[in-house]
C-alpha cells in the first residue's frame, strides 16, 4: 500500500521530534538547566545555535528536553481519553437503552463544562505536576472519542457478521472486543491523533499561565512565558519554542489528515 505525502510528512516530523525527545541526553549540547551567568541572553551563535535565556541556559537544549514533556503529555493524555472513550462509547453503543442514555448524558455533562477553566480550577486546587496535567486533560477530553465509537458501533452491530458471531456462541465482551472494535477504530485513531495535538497545545497554554509544568523543568509553554519579560531584547526565546509547538501540531495534523485520506474517510 502506498502512503500519501501528507502522512509521510507527518510521520517524518513526529518521528524526528520523537527521536529528539528520546535521545535528548545525548543530543542536547548542554544541560537544560545549566545556568551560565557569563552568557545571558546571547543571540543564536555557533556555541548556542538558538541562543540563551535570561539565566544563560541554552535554548536548544531546553527545547529538546521540552519535547519530552510535551510529547509525553500529549500521548499519555490521549491514551487516557482513548481508554475511557472507547470503553464508555462501546458499552453505550452496544447495550443501547438506559445504559446508553446514562453514559451519553454523562458525556454531555462533561462536554458542557468550559474545559479549559475546569482544568485551570483543578490544577489550581491540586498541584500542577506533569502527572496531574496528563490525567486532567485525559479526563476532560474523552467525550468526542466516546461519541465516535458509539456511533460506529450503533451501525456496526446491525451488520450480519455480528449476528454470525452471536450464532457461533460468542459472548458480549468477545463481540465488542473482537468483532466490533477492530472495525470501529479507524476514525478513532484519526481523532486521537488530532487529540494529541490538542493536548500539547493545552499544556502549552497551561504552562504559559503558570499552571502547567513548573520550572525549572522545561516545557515549551513555560519557556514561552519566561520569554515574555525579555521579548523586546531577545526575540529568539519567543520564536523557537513557538515554532516547536507549531511544527508539532502541524505534524500531528498531517498524520490525522493523511490517515483520513489513506483510509478513505471524508469526515
Amino acid at each position: 500500500m502506498r502512503m500519501n505525502k501528507l502522512l509521510c510528512a507527518g510521520i517524518a516530523i513526529i518521528g524526528f521530534l520523537g527521536v529528539l525527545a528520546i535521545l535528548a541526553p545525548f543530543i542536547s549540547p548542554y544541560e537544560p538547566s545549566l545556568i551560565d551567568s557569563t552568557n545571558l541572553l546571547t543571540p543564536p551563535s555557533y556555541a548556542h545555535p538558538l541562543g540563551t535565556d535570561s539565566l544563560g541556559r541554552d535554548l536548544l537544549s531546553r527545547i529538546i528536553y521540552g519535547a519530552r514533556i510535551s510529547l509525553s503529555i500529549g500521548i499519555i493524555a490521549v491514551g487516557i481519553s482513548l481508554l475511557i472513550g472507547v470503553i464508555a462509547g462501546s458499552i453505550a453503543g452496544y447495550s443501547g437503552g438506559l445504559t446508553d442514555s446514562v453514559i451519553m448524558r454523562c458525556a454531555d455533562i462533561v462536554l458542557c463544562f468550559p474545559t479549559f477553566f475546569l482544568i485551570l480550577a483543578v490544577v489550581a486546587v491540586l498541584e500542577p505536576s506533569i502527572i496531574n496535567i496528563m490525567v486532567i486533560i485525559g479526563l476532560t477530553s474523552w467525550m468526542g472519542i466516546a461519541r465516535l465509537i458509539r456511533s460506529e458501533i450503533l451501525s456496526l452491530k446491525e451488520r450480519e457478521f455480528i449476528q454470525a458471531a452471536k450464532a457461533i456462541g460468542a459472548s458480549h465482551i468477545r463481540i465488542i472486543c473482537r468483532h466490533l472494535l477492530p472495525n470501529a477504530m479507524g476514525p478513532v485513531f484519526v481523532n486521537a491523533t488530532l487529540g494529541i495535538a490538542g493536548a500539547i497545545l493545552l499544556e502549552s497554554a497551561l504552562s504559559f499561565l503558570g499552571l502547567g509544568v513548573q520550572p525549572p523543568v522545561p516545557s515549551w509553554g513555560n519557556i514561552l512565558i519566561e520569554s515574555k519579560a525579555t521579548l523586546g531584547v531577545a526575540w529568539w526565546i519567543t520564536l523557537f519554542p513557538g515554532l516547536a509547538i507549531f511544527v508539532t501540531i502541524l505534524g500531528f495534523n498531517f498524520i490525522a489528515e493523511g490517515l483520513k485520506k489513506q483510509w478513505g474517510y471524508n469526515a
Partner: protein
C-alpha cells in the same frame, strides 16, 4: 430432535406490533433434512433465529416451546444457550460475504468456534481449520486460510461459512437461504456439498428457501409457511404430487414457470 410447538413471535416497532409468527409447529428428526419454504415475510428466518434466540431486541417471544433433544431452549439461560450456539446448533447464512468479519482472515474466523467451544490450542485449531477447509472442497487451503473475505468469491465465502458452522460438529445445521445470493452453478455445487457433508457427519438439516426446486432436490420433508403459520407439512413426494394449500401451489407454479424457460 428439534421440536417447535405453537411458537408466536411479535415485533414491537416503536409501538406498532407486527405479528411475525402466529403459532408455528414443526419438528426435525435425527439426520433428517427438513426444508422450510415460503414467500418473503412468511416467517422462515424469524423461526430459524428464534431457535437459539438470535432475534433482534425488538422481538418478543409471546408463547411456544422449542425443545432440542429434550432441552427447553426458550427457558435456557443466556450463558447456557451460548454453549448450544455454534456447538450443538450451527447456522449458515444467506450473504456469505457480509457474514464474515472484514478485518480477519477467513482461516482466523474458522478457528474462532474451535477456540470458543473445543478448548483447542491455537496450533491445534489452526490444523483443524485447515482440515475443515479441505473438507468443504477448497483447494490451496493455506492460501485461502490467509485470505480476507473480500478477496474470495461468494461461493468460496459460503464454503468458508459452512466450514465454520461444521467446526464443532453440530447436531443440527440451520441453513438460511445459503445459496440465494449465488449463481446457479455455484448454488448447485454448494447444495451437493451440503448433502455430502450431511451424509458424512450425520447432522440434521433445517434448510430455509423460497425455491421449491431446491426443496425437491434435497428435502426429506417440506414445511410450507405462509403469513407466520405452517400451512402444509408433508413428505417431499406428497407436496409435489398433491399440494393442498393454495400457497404451496403458488410456489410450485412459480418454480415450474421458471423451469419451462
Amino acid at each position: 430432535m428439534l421440536e417447535i410447538s405453537n411458537l408466536r413471535v411479535h415485533f414491537d416497532l416503536n409501538g406498532t406490533i407486527v405479528k411475525a409468527l402466529c403459532g408455528v409447529t414443526f419438528g426435525v428428526g435425527p439426520k433428517e433434512t427438513l426444508v422450510v419454504a415460503g414467500e418473503s415475510g412468511s416467517g422462515k428466518t424469524v423461526t430459524a433465529l428464534t431457535v437459539t434466540r438470535l432475534l433482534p431486541a425488538s422481538a418478543r417471544i409471546i408463547s411456544g416451546e422449542i425443545y432440542f433433544d429434550g432441552e427447553d431452549l426458550l427457558s435456557l439461560e443466556e450463558d447456557a444457550l451460548r454453549k448450544v450456539r455454534g456447538k450443538e446448533i450451527a447456522y449458515v447464512f444467506q450473504e456469505p460475504g457480509t457474514f464474515l468479519n472484514p478485518v480477519y482472515t477467513v482461516g482466523n474466523q474458522i478457528m474462532e468456534p474451535l477456540l470458543l467451544h473445543q478448548g483447542l490450542s491455537r496450533a491445534e485449531a489452526f490444523a483443524e481449520a485447515l482440515r475443515l477447509i479441505a473438507l468443504v472442497q477448497i483447494k490451496e487451503g493455506r492460501r485461502v486460510f490467509f485470505s480476507y473475505p473480500h478477496q474470495l468469491s461468494g461461493g468460496m465465502n459460503q464454503r468458508i461459512g459452512i466450514a465454520m458452522s461444521l467446526a464443532c460438529r453440530p447436531r443440527l445445521l440451520i441453513a438460511d437461504e445459503p445459496t440465494t445470493s449465488l449463481d446457479v452453478t455455484t448454488e448447485s455445487e454448494i447444495l451437493d456439498l451440503l448433502c455430502e457433508l450431511k451424509d458424512n457427519f450425520g447432522f440434521s438439516l433445517l434448510f430455509i428457501t423460497h425455491n421449491l426446486s431446491i426443496a425437491r432436490r434435497i428435502a426429506d420433508r417440506i414445511c410450507v409457511m405462509y403469513k407466520g403459520v405452517v400451512v402444509e407439512e408433508a413428505d417431499t413426494e406428497r407436496i409435489f404430487s398433491s399440494p393442498r394449500h393454495f400457497h404451496t401451489m403458488e410456489l410450485i407454479q412459480a418454480y415450474q414457470a421458471i423451469g419451462t424457460l
